[in-house]
Symmetry: C2
Subunit: 271 residues, 2 copies
C-alpha cells in the first residue's frame, strides 16, 4: 500500500493540486525561496519553488519547448540567446537544439542550479555545454548592461515577490535595448483562466516597447488550469522562418499559435 | 477565515485536484453513481459524479462548447440530434443555439437531471425546450432502435463502470447505423496525457465503423491535465461548413483543430 503523504500547490486560496510523495528528495530554504524536490510515481521527479510546480519529469517538455522554439524559429539567424531564470536548465537544453553560438543565463538563485544538476541531470546537462554562461544575479540588474541578443527568453517564476520586476514596463524597455534589430523577446504570462490580469499587464508593458507582439497558448498539465500563455515581442514582424519538431512543438503547432479561443481573444484585446 | 473543508478528485492514485467547499449542496447516491454538488468561491457551483468533476459554473463552457459546435457546424443541415449522457443539460443548451428541430437525450440517471434542474438552472434550462425529449434508459439499449440522426453527441462519463459499453466497437457500429448519410458522431475521449489508451481504443472502434474520423484537443481547466480529447466520425468528409462564435469556440478554433502537438500526433497515429 502506498504512503498517504502528499505535496500540494495552492493554485489560489480555493483550489489546490497535489501529488503523492513517494520520496522527498530535497527541501532547501535558499536566500530567495523554498526549493523542494519530491518523487511521484506518475510524474517522476518534481521541482517546486515556493510550493509551486516548476517542472515534472513527465511533462516538463510541454513548457520548455513552448517557451523556446516559437521564438527561436521566428528569428532569421539566432546566435546569441539570453535566458532569464531557467535555473533548471531545461530552456537552455532546448535552445541548444538550434544552431547557436552563445547562451547567457541569468538565474538569481544558485541553489536552483545546484539542485537541478544533482536531481535532474538530463535536464541540467545543458550547463555542461561550453556555450552556456551562467550569471547568478538579479536579472533586473543584468539588463542594465549593453548587449546585442537575438533572442531573450524570460523563464521566470510568476510576478509576485522578487520576480515581479521582470514583468514591469521598465524591464521590457531595458530588455528591448538588449536586442538586435530582428531580436525577439518571449515571456511566460501565466494562466489566462486563473489569472488574466497577468497577461493583460504584460501586454501593456510589451506593446509600449515593441512594434509587434504575439500572444499564444499551450498546454502544461501541471500548471494551474493546464493552460499557459506566452507572449513573443519584436520590432520586426514575427512569423515562422524554419521547421523544427520536438516532443510537443512542431510546425503545425506554430502555424495555429495565433488561432485563439474566444475567451483568450477577449482577454488580450481588452488590454 | 475560510473553512478548511475540501473536495478532491483522485485523478489517478498518485494525483489529485481539489477545491475548497464553501457549501455542500447535495450528496445523493443514485442507482448508478454518487452525485455531489458543492460550492466553491472560485469555480462557483460544481457537479461531481463518482468523485469526478463533471462541470463547474466557471469553466463548463469549455467542454460543452467543444464537444458540441465542431460537429454541429460540420454537418450540412443538422435537424435531429441525439445526445447520449448530458444529464446536466449543457450540451443540449449548446445544440439549441443551432437551427435544429429535435433533440433526443438519453441519460441513464434521472437523478442527474433532477439535481441539475435544481442547482444549475441556467445550464439545465434546455430541458424546458419542447424540442428536447428525455429518455432515462441505458444508451447501449437505446442505440438498438432505428433512427436517422444528423448528429450524435456522446457526452458520457469515462469508460469505466456502466459507461464502458459506450466506447466499445459494437456501440460505434450501432451508432453509425442511426446516422443519416452525412451524419456525424462525436465523443469525448479523455485526457491524452493522463490516459492515452482511452483515445487509442476509441479510434480503433471508430475507424472500424466510419470512413472518416477527426480527433481534436481543447482545454478544460478542471479535467485531469487540463487538456481533453474528442473524436468526430462520419462516412462523409468532415470540415467546417458554417460560422459560429461561442465563449470558447470560434471559427479560428475549428480551423486549427487538426493542428496537433507532436505527442498527440504520436498517440493517434499508433492506434
Amino acid at each position: 500500500m502506498k504512503v498517504d503523504h502528499w505535496f500540494f500547490e495552492n493554485q489560489n486560496e480555493d483550489v489546490k493540486f497535489g501529488i503523492r510523495v513517494s520520496e522527498h528528495l530535497a527541501s532547501v530554504q535558499s536566500k530567495y525561496q523554498k526549493i523542494d524536490i519530491v518523487k511521484n510515481d506518475f510524474f517522476g521527479k518534481v521541482l517546486f519553488l515556493d510550493g509551486c510546480f516548476m517542472l515534472t519529469e513527465k511533462d516538463e517538455y510541454f513548457y520548455q519547448e513552448m517557451i523556446t522554439h516559437p521564438a527561436m524559429v521566428s528569428h532569421p539567424h539566432p546566435k546569441n540567446v539570453l535566458i532569464i531564470g531557467g535555473g533548471d536548465g531545461g530552456v537552455a537544453r532546448e535552445v541548444l537544439k538550434h544552431d547557436i553560438e552563445r547562451i547567457d543565463l541569468v538565474e538569481i538563485d544558485e541553489e536552483v542550479i545546484n539542485l537541478s544538476k544533482k536531481f535532474f541531470p538530463e535536464i541540467a546537462s545543458s550547463f555542461d555545454d561550453k556555450r552556456v554562461n551562467i550569471f547568478n544575479m538579479d536579472a533586473f540588474e543584468f539588463v542594465n548592461k549593453t548587449g546585442n541578443y537575438d533572442v531573450i527568453i524570460v523563464d521566470s517564476t510568476d510576478p509576485i515577490g522578487f520576480a515581479a520586476s521582470l514583468f514591469s514596463e521598465v524591464f521590457y524597455e531595458k530588455a528591448s535595448k538588449l536586442l538586435g534589430k530582428e531580436g525577439i523577446l518571449v515571456t511566460q504570462t501565466g494562466s489566462p483562466f486563473m489569472n488574466p490580469a497577468h497577461i493583460i499587464k504584460a501586454i501593456k508593458g510589451i506593446s509600449a516597447n515593441f512594434n509587434h507582439y504575439f500572444p499564444y497558448l499551450a498546454s502544461v498539465p501541471t500548471y494551474p488550469s493546464g493552460l499557459w500563455s506566452y507572449v513573443m515581442a519584436s520590432n520586426s514582424p514575427i512569423f515562422r522562418r524554419r521547421k523544427f519538431t520536438g516532443k510537443y512543438y512542431n510546425d503545425e503547432v506554430y502555424d495555429s499559435l495565433n488561432k485563439y479561443p474566444q475567451f483568450f481573444k477577449d482577454i488580450i484585446e481588452q488590454k
